[in-house]
């Protein structure tokens, strides 16, 4: 057994799990208030990049439609039109099982989102400080020269679902390191900055935010895409955790102790 994850890393990890789940689901709830995305400084209502809505189908029954770059897909039951609590079809972007709260309730989705946005930011900032000052970044996150040299081999091993064992498993492998660096220092700050760019008050004081992201509606679109990038990371991350030893990984992230094989 080795002591793999320090206490600050473990606490930050689980707080982050809670934040991501609540921010994602309440974010979908907010999106549902106007389930379409646009490019630019203002909303061009007839030119959405993505839109979810309902329209009468060929049989006269309402149909859920998702429009992506002008291409329309029938997404009845999932996007655009899904079941209300009583089972009746209701026009809404994402279905009720994905949103917080489950009903169409923009006010409360916003309350959840903004509270946990603070938890996310404070937790993320504490973790980043620990990484930078506490040495976590240099010790565990930045790939070594040796790892960078073996990157092709690591990719090949991952594709065959062969994971490091023995001494090599003492550290994050190079793919882990890259994905953690991208998420912590790229995706995290990006989603916070695009979120702030949607605030009219912050825009007034920092118009640079609008220029960087190409306008408030573009910022909203990037915020949405970044949220799904987080979801993609989470899915891959959980898959890797399961494939490379669920209980060993879970114990390590709870108690810190990891068993070398």
């Amino acid at each position: 057994m080795i002591y793999r994850h320090s206490l600050p890393v473990r606490v930050a990890h689980w707080v982050n799990v809670l934040c991501l789940v609540i921010l994602f689901t309440s974010g979908l709830g907010i999106f549902n208030a106007w389930p379409a995305l646009y490019r630019g400084i203002r909303t061009n209502f007839d030119q959405p990049l993505l839109a979810m809505y309902a329209t009468p189908g060929a049989d006269g029954q309402p149909q859920g439609v998702t429009e992506v770059f002008g291409h329309r897909f029938d997404t009845t039951g999932w996007l655009g039109l899904s079941s209300a609590k009583n089972g009746a079809p209701v026009v809404r972007g994402f279905p009720r099982w994905t949103t917080l709260p489950r009903s169409l309730d923009l006010a409360h989705s916003r309350r959840w989102h903004f509270f946990f946005a603070w938890v996310f930011v404070i937790n993320g900032a504490a973790y980043a400080l620990y990484a930078l000052i506490g040495g976590h970044l240099w010790r565990n996150l930045l790939p070594s020269r040796q790892q960078l040299g073996g990157i092709a081999q690591t990719v090949w091993n991952h594709l065959r679902l062969r994971f490091p064992t023995g001494d090599a498993a003492r550290h994050y492998n190079v793919l882990q390191k890259f994905s953690y660096l991208v998420v912590v220092f790229g995706l995290g700050p990006l989603i916070v900055a695009t979120g702030l760019a949607m605030s009219p008050w912050i825009d007034a004081a920092y118009p640079l935010l609008l220029d960087v992201f190409g306008g408030r509606q573009s910022a909203r679109t990037i915020h949405f895409v970044a949220a799904f990038a987080f979801l993609a990371f989470l899915l891959v991350h959980v898959a890797m955790v399961v494939l490379s030893g669920l209980w060993n990984n879970l114990r390590a992230m709870i108690t810190g102790w990891y068993r070398l094989e």
């Binding site: 106007w34 203002r42 309350r111 903004f114 509270f115 603070w118 605030s199 009219p200 912050i202 007034a204």
Partner: protein, 248 residues
């Protein structure tokens, strides 16, 4: 009898569980709501109240500016005023002021005006850009002699949102009232303010969300606190769970 008792107990347990979860949720909401004042304080600390939002050009104007909320107030009093082109409409200004007033549209139009092309962000997520002409609220309030204890400006409206029992209302604080982009607009895109956008006079703010910008104004009142007005949260949407601070 036995059966009855069992049902009662079951009902009691269900009731207790429901009550506990309602309590938990109630406490939960108080905790969640605390983020509003944190956000406001931090935004005030990092972004000065006087910050002026970006002004756009004619080329940026929305070809179709979405009208939200009420599009045409059903209020018969309003309908009668609208039929006469708001000739008899008066804006009542009162509350904690030394000289309450009633102003006609002609009197407001005669005051020095400003024109601004600004973005309006709806709480739902969309944004539109419009050109607004009107009187800065600060200039309108100055001759009233606002008393030092006045902390908020209340706006009372003619319209009632579908399903609501009382007319729309809103509030901002004194600092927001003095902001150069806080104006009472009577024209939009160089035309007399159309009814769907709040004729004859509406509030426009630079740094807040759309629901703060009350349309179809009929009265303005300076108050020390709004806790005893209507639902007590300072506005129609605020009484329905939305934040009073709408800077994000």
């Amino acid at each position: 009898m036995k059966l009855h008792r069992r049902i009662d107990r079951r009902r009691f347990i269900a009731g207790a569980a429901g009550g506990t979860s309602a309590l938990l949720l109630g406490g939960c909401h108080r905790v969640l709501d605390s983020a509003e004042s944190l956000t406001r304080r931090v935004q005030e600390a990092v972004a000065p109240r006087s910050a002026v939002s970006r002004e756009y050009t004619e080329a940026d104007l929305s070809p179709h500016f979405k009208s939200n909320g009420t599009h045409d107030p059903a209020n018969p009093e309003y309908q009668a005023l609208a039929r006469d082109g708001f000739k008899d409409w008066r804006l009542a200004l009162g509350g904690l002021v030394d000289r309450p007033m009633q102003l006609s549209l002609a009197e407001i139009r005669a005051m020095p005006s400003v024109t601004q092309i600004t973005r309006q962000d709806c709480v739902e997520g969309w944004s539109c850009i419009g050109k607004w002409t009107g009187v800065p609220l600060g200039a309108l309030l100055a001759p009233l002699g606002v008393q030092p204890k006045a902390r908020y400006v209340m706006f009372y409206c003619f319209d009632t949102v579908e399903g609501a029992s009382e007319p729309y209302y809103e509030s901002i604080d004194i600092a927001e009232a003095a902001h150069p982009q806080t104006i009472l607009a009577y024209a939009m895109n160089d035309r007399t303010l159309p009814i769907p956008y709040g004729a004859p006079l509406r509030l426009r703010l630079g740094n807040q969300l759309g629901y703060k910008m009350a349309k179809y104004l009929r009265g303005i009142e300076l108050v020390e606190s709004f806790s005893l007005i209507r639902g007590g949260s300072g506005g129609f949407y605020e009484d329905n769970g939305y934040e009073w601070y709408a800077g994000i």
